[in-house]
């Protein structure tokens, strides 16, 4: 180490094996007061490494030192006791408990074990305020929040307590820019307070914004640690992908036009396939009017909780609309209807890739094959109803190849896959079905840069084949890269539509805030995005 | 509405009598209830009748609750077939203390405890033990000393189960016939069939099965038939439900006991009316228990 005093965290020769080796001889140091980005493709071992540091798993060999002292956390709890805290990749809140109770879960009551709800509420408000979430009522049960807000609560929970070493595992996966800025604001404060931060993200732009140093993991090996400013996107992608070069050259398209061109599908607006009229749902969105055309990708932007997920769910018949409805090309738009359930939606040629993969998408303890084949079972069987396992296995294998899903065996439970690979499994399920209209809710969630490009390409291809696609994304980059047309939801209402020439991050952002008026919901003006 | 009967000029309303039974879910008690209803219909001018039973013959608490509910509805008399000879006494006493006439039918309140209380509750009903003894004797007549038999009992702890078992044992002992096994089958047909089958398997020499009620006897019949020992192994039951009766007639069962359930409640009600009229508690009365054999009366 350069300085005399030891680094905050020093790891050497760390090994971890599950079914297969996952971490091979990791050497890693984290300095006090630095933000150290951890990058790597899906399944590289980032979460596992952090789980070891945070005491969730125990390493097979190798050792860790925390500011010089030997450090072998026996459990998450004991890690927290020594000031090491982590925001996990997956949500870990208690849905039926209130926000306040979740925030203060491990310091709920006094010595007698009695809870002072008022005190609880106050400290909760304080914690929420740091992330500018004042509009959240601490008494709301967490289950009433959208995924994004739950993610923020999760972060607030960790930030609310004293910490020396903070680990954030893809904290921004479900966040939109304003919250991200807010978060980074907090991180800066912590950094200057001498806290060491390990930051996992697949978003290059963020890395360049916040990270002091970057470490790259590939297949469980730490292959490089460099200063962030010495490392540009191409290099990062290259290092992550490794010698076995990415099938598609790494690229970060920045404008709709660029994508359209790069995918050869010059956006020729096809015929209208779906008309949304005055669609509204209590407490989520109101008076949505849209037309969707074959061969186009319609992006939906907006802040967390702006109603995007609910809009998609309603289109898909998963939730019921209170007003308005949709018209389909099938009956020449003659009938204004509301789909009553997903089965109807699929019959009408509409599919939805859900946002909450863990809760509403995957069968976690079931095989990859079953998860990918689930939607197809209805068709892949003989007259006796006997499943054609061969076909299902083949399809799954093909999907795993297309989306390069890192796995050992198709019979492996999906729960054993890394977060990003789980997301790909979910997407794969829908690629197998030939539906005219596909709705994606945060498709790139937790997916690494290269896979993200893969997915974006796949979506473009779908459009090119004449399908109509709607993509909800909190990642402006992704919207710009994917969409022919972007609409923005603000507080549940349409707040503008943009096309190639009118769109800009700034414009999208302004639109996102349009219908938030009350002081509580107004978010501080965003910083410039490098 | 009805003309008040002279002895109740005090209150103009007609007499109300509650019949509280162990169960309304099996034939024996259904007959009892029907008998009572017929009697009431015939004497509609004298009294009104409320019939209740509990869902599960062994649920004392619920029967106590029933009695209290009847007290709540201000009945003049309660005719009760207690699910337990002890557990129902306290509430019966409370009822009596309230001036409600209580008559005990079917299975007898525990004598000592009753004696210890400051009340008298007349009993009308069969002596289960004596009845079982009679059935046992009929069986014994078909067997010779030293033969092996087994007893299939009701719910352990249920009073009449114990009484009937005791009666069977008396009879067998008297004829020094060996009881090789005593097992409970909770009054249930299927369970009795399984237990009987096992006993048969274990005792190739078995000559007879004594069952504490007819449902279990039916089960035993099935088990014996399945074991291919029909005829070799005699079966007796208790209660004379119609299904058992037909088996007795067809010879698949040797005998069962008829307690004249349909009369039982009626006797009780008549007792109650009598007491209401005279204020005198008549002496206890054992109702007949007759053995039903092939050819013999239903």
């Amino acid at each position: 180490m350069t300085a005399g005093e030891p680094p905050l965290l020093a790891i050497d020769a760390l090994h971890k094996q599950f079914a297969v080796p996952v971490l091979r001889g990791i050497d890693f140091t984290l300095r006090a007061g630095e933000i150290h980005a951890l990058m790597g493709s899906n399944g590289a071992g980032k979460s596992t490494l952090c789980n070891l540091i945070a005491g969730i798993h125990r390493p097979d060999s190798g050792n860790m030192r925390l500011s010089g002292q030997p450090y072998q956390p026996a459990s998450l709890h004991s890690a927290e006791a020594s000031g090491v805290r982590m925001v996990m990749q997956e949500l870990n809140l208690f849905p039926t408990l209130s926000i306040a109770e979740n925030l203060c879960f491990n310091r709920l009551g006094n010595r007698a074990g009695v809870i002072n709800h008022q005190a609880l509420r106050d400290s909760a408000r304080a914690a929420l305020a740091r992330l500018n979430l004042d509009e959240l009522d601490p008494d709301t049960p967490v289950s009433a929040l959208g995924v994004g807000k739950q993610q923020l609560v999760e972060i607030a929970r960790v930030l609310a307590q004293p910490v020396r070493l903070l680990i954030l595992d893809e904290p921004t996966a479900a966040l939109t820019d304003p919250q991200i800025d807010q978060l980074f604001g907090q991180l800066d404060i912590l950094r200057s307070a001498g806290i060491g931060i390990i930051y996992i993200s697949h978003r290059m732009s963020e890395i360049q914004r916040v990270a002091d140093r970057v470490s790259i993991l590939r297949d469980g090996a730490l292959i490089a640690t460099e200063n962030a400013d010495e490392m540009d996107v191409e290099r990062m992608v290259h290092l992550m992908a490794g010698p076995a070069m990415a099938r598609i050259p790494p690229k970060t398209p920045t404008t709709i036009a660029a994508t359209a061109a790069s995918n050869g599908s010059a956006t020729k607006p096809g015929h209208v396939v779906l008309k949304i009229e005055q669609l509204g749902r209590q407490g989520a969105f109101t008076d949505i009017n849209l037309e969707l055309r074959a061969g186009e990708v319609l992006g939906i932007g907006g802040l967390i909780g702006s109603g995007r997920t609910e809009l998609l769910r309603t289109l898909f018949g998963a939730d019921t609309a209170d007003t308005g409805g949709i018209r389909l090309a099938a009956d020449d738009f003659s009938r204004l209807q509301q789909l009553r359930n997903p089965a109807e939606a699929i019959a009408a040629g509409i599919g939805l890739v859900v946002e909450d993969r863990k809760g509403q998408g995957l069968l976690l303890d079931k095989s990859i094959a079953l998860n990918i084949g689930l939607g197809q079972l209805g068709t892949l069987h003989n007259r006796l109803g006997i499943v054609n396992d061969k076909a299902i296995a083949d399809n799954s294998a093909e999907i795993c190849r297309q989306l390069d899903i890192k796995h050992d065996d198709l019979q492996q439970p999906v729960a054993q896959l890394s977060g990003g690979n789980q997301q790909k499994v979910l997407i794969g399920r829908w690629l197998l079905r030939d539906l005219q209209i596909l709705l994606f809710d945060e498709p790139g969630r937790g997916v690494d840069a290269r896979s993200k490009l893969l997915i974006q390409e796949l979506i473009r291809d779908l459009a090119a084949q004449g399908k109509a696609v709607i993509v909800v994304s909190s990642e402006t980059e992704e919207l710009l890269a994917l969409a022919d047309r972007v609409v923005v939801l603000s507080n549940g209402r349409l707040a503008g539509e943009f096309t190639a020439d009118t769109v800009s991050e700034q414009a999208l952002l302004e639109a996102s805030f349009r219908f938030y008026t009350t002081a509580g919901q107004k978010v501080a003006p965003p910083l410039e995005i490098s | 509405t009805r003309e008040p009967t002279p002895e109740t000029t005090a209150d103009p309303a007609p007499l109300r009598i509650a019949l509280v039974m162990k169960s309304l879910a099996n034939e024996f008690f259904i007959n009892m209830a029907d008998g009572a209803r017929r009697h009431q219909a015939a004497n509609a001018d004298q009294y009104e009748l409320v019939v209740n039973g509990i869902r599960n013959e062994s649920d004392l608490a619920q029967q106590v609750a029933l009695v209290e509910q009847m007290m709540a509805t201000g009945v003049d008399a309660i005719v009760i077939a207690p699910a337990d000879s002890k557990g129902l006494l306290p509430v019966a006493r409370r009822a009596a203390a309230q001036g409600i006439v209580v008559v005990n039918i079917d299975n007898r309140f525990d004598r000592e405890i009753l004696a210890g209380m400051d009340i008298s509750i007349p009993f009308v009903g069969p002596d289960n033990r004596a009845g079982a003894r009679k059935v046992g004797d009929v069986l014994a007549a078909e067997l010779k000393a030293g033969d092996q038999v087994a007893i299939i009992g009701g719910n352990p702890g249920a009073f009449n189960a114990q009484q009937r078992q005791a009666g069977f044992e008396d009879a067998m002992r008297a004829a020094d016939i060996e009881i090789v096994s005593v097992q409970a089958a909770d009054w249930e047909q299927a369970r009795a069939a399984n237990v009987a089958a096992a006993i048969l398997g274990e005792n190739p020499e078995l000559k007879a099965l004594l069952c504490a009620n007819d449902s279990m006897a039916l089960g035993a019949v099935a088990a014996v038939r399945q074991s291919g020992r029909a005829g070799e192994v005699l079966i007796v039951g208790f209660d004379n439900i119609s299904a058992a009766n037909s088996l007795v007639q067809s010879g698949e069962m040797l005998a069962t006991a008829n307690q004249y359930g349909d009369q039982l409640a009626v006797f009780g009600i008549e007792y109650a009316l009598e007491i209401l009229a005279s204020g005198q508690a008549p002496a206890d009365r054992d109702t007949p228990v007759d053995v039903v054999k092939a050819g013999a009366g239903q």
Binding site: H77, F94, P95, F105, N106, I115, G359 | D59, D84, P90
Partner: protein, 331 residues
């Protein structure tokens, strides 16, 4: 149904549906029977509910942590039997016998809890085993016959002069109040809910879930014992066959009260309302002298109807549950 059941704020609102059902039943029976709506009837009810109430409270806690306890009926019988035998045969005085009985309940509950929590065996199985074991125990200690105790224990069940309420009833109400307080106001209560929704997360945050689960089953055991004591006072005798099927009535009461069988959502107060609904229904049907088949069918319909009604009183609630709690343990 909606998650908010846990926050005390909306409790009253959540109870509304049940109160409505209860009132409807009362009005119905009052109109059908001249005797139903009377002080006597309600005293009768007051005598009946204590046992079911305390047992159902214990069951509420168990269901909250996504467990189940099928053994309450047998455990109740065993504990009453122990107390009965100690007083009748061994001549112990009331209080020590009572304590011994509660300890028996504690032992049974702790055993079930320990086996199921420590070795991750579904509590359904463990308590099913305990159901048999405790029943056998009850037969053993009583020698399979009812123990008569007489007035010695009578005062537990008899109304206190002046107050008009029996110690049993007072005890039951205290238990309800206390349990609701624990559930809403204490850390233990929040832990139960957390364990019921995401046990793993609780474990990760350094809380000894095994211990808390054992505690919950232990409480259920003690409350079953208490129920036995109350029934002992009521019957003045201990019946080894008591409490057969009690587990179903208790669960029915809890579920009618809107507690989720998959854990994490519930309210003791609503459980109490569930108990009242069941008791009122039974009393009413008995007073009308409805035939046995009639009783069964009506009971069944009311159970389903009550829950259905409660569910749809607040359709939004349903959507919430639909949307955010897809995986119901027992759906």
């Amino acid at each position: 149904m909606s998650p908010s059941i846990v926050g005390r704020i909306r409790l009253p609102w959540n109870s509304l549906g049940l109160v409505a059902v209860l009132l409807v039943l009362i009005l119905l029976f009052s109109s059908l029977s001249d005797y139903f709506f009377s002080a006597v009837t309600f005293r009768t009810l007051a005598n009946q509910i204590p046992t079911l109430t305390v047992v159902a409270v214990g069951m509420t806690f168990v269901l909250l942590i996504a467990g189940i306890d099928l053994s309450v009926g047998s455990v109740m019988a065993l504990c009453a039997a122990v107390m009965g035998v100690l007083m009748a045969d061994s001549g112990w005085p009331l209080v020590p016998a009572l304590l011994a009985s509660l300890l028996t309940g504690l032992a049974c509950g702790s055993f079930s809890g320990l086996v199921s929590a420590r070795w991750a065996i579904p509590s359904f199985v463990v308590t099913l085993g305990m159901l048999e074991i405790a029943r056998g125990g009850a037969y053993l200690v009583t020698g399979s016959e009812t123990k008569y105790l007489g007035p010695a224990v009578g005062r537990i069940g008899e109304p206190i002069a002046g107050l008009g309420l029996s110690p049993a009833l007072i005890g039951a109400i205290v238990v309800v109040a206390l349990a609701q307080f624990i559930l809403v106001k204490t850390v233990f209560g929040r832990y139960m809910i957390a364990i019921g929704t995401n046990e793993e997360a609780v474990r990760l945050s350094g809380i000894n879930t095994v211990r808390w689960k054992v505690v919950v089953f232990a409480i259920a055991g003690v409350l079953a014992a208490l129920g036995g004591v109350f029934q002992l006072g009521y019957l003045q005798s201990a019946d080894p066959n008591a409490g057969i099927g009690l587990e179903l009535s208790a669960i029915a009461a809890v579920v009618i009260g809107g507690t989720s069988l998959s854990g994490g959502r519930g309210s003791v107060v609503n459980t109490f309302l569930g108990v009242l609904i069941i008791a009122v229904m039974q009393t009413g049907l008995a007073q009308l002298g409805v035939s046995e088949p009639g009783k069964r069918i009506i009971t069944g319909l009311v159970i389903i109807g009550a829950v259905l009604f409660d569910q749809y009183r607040e359709p939004l609630g349903k959507l919430l549950t639909r949307r955010y709690e897809p995986k119901r343990g027992i759906s």
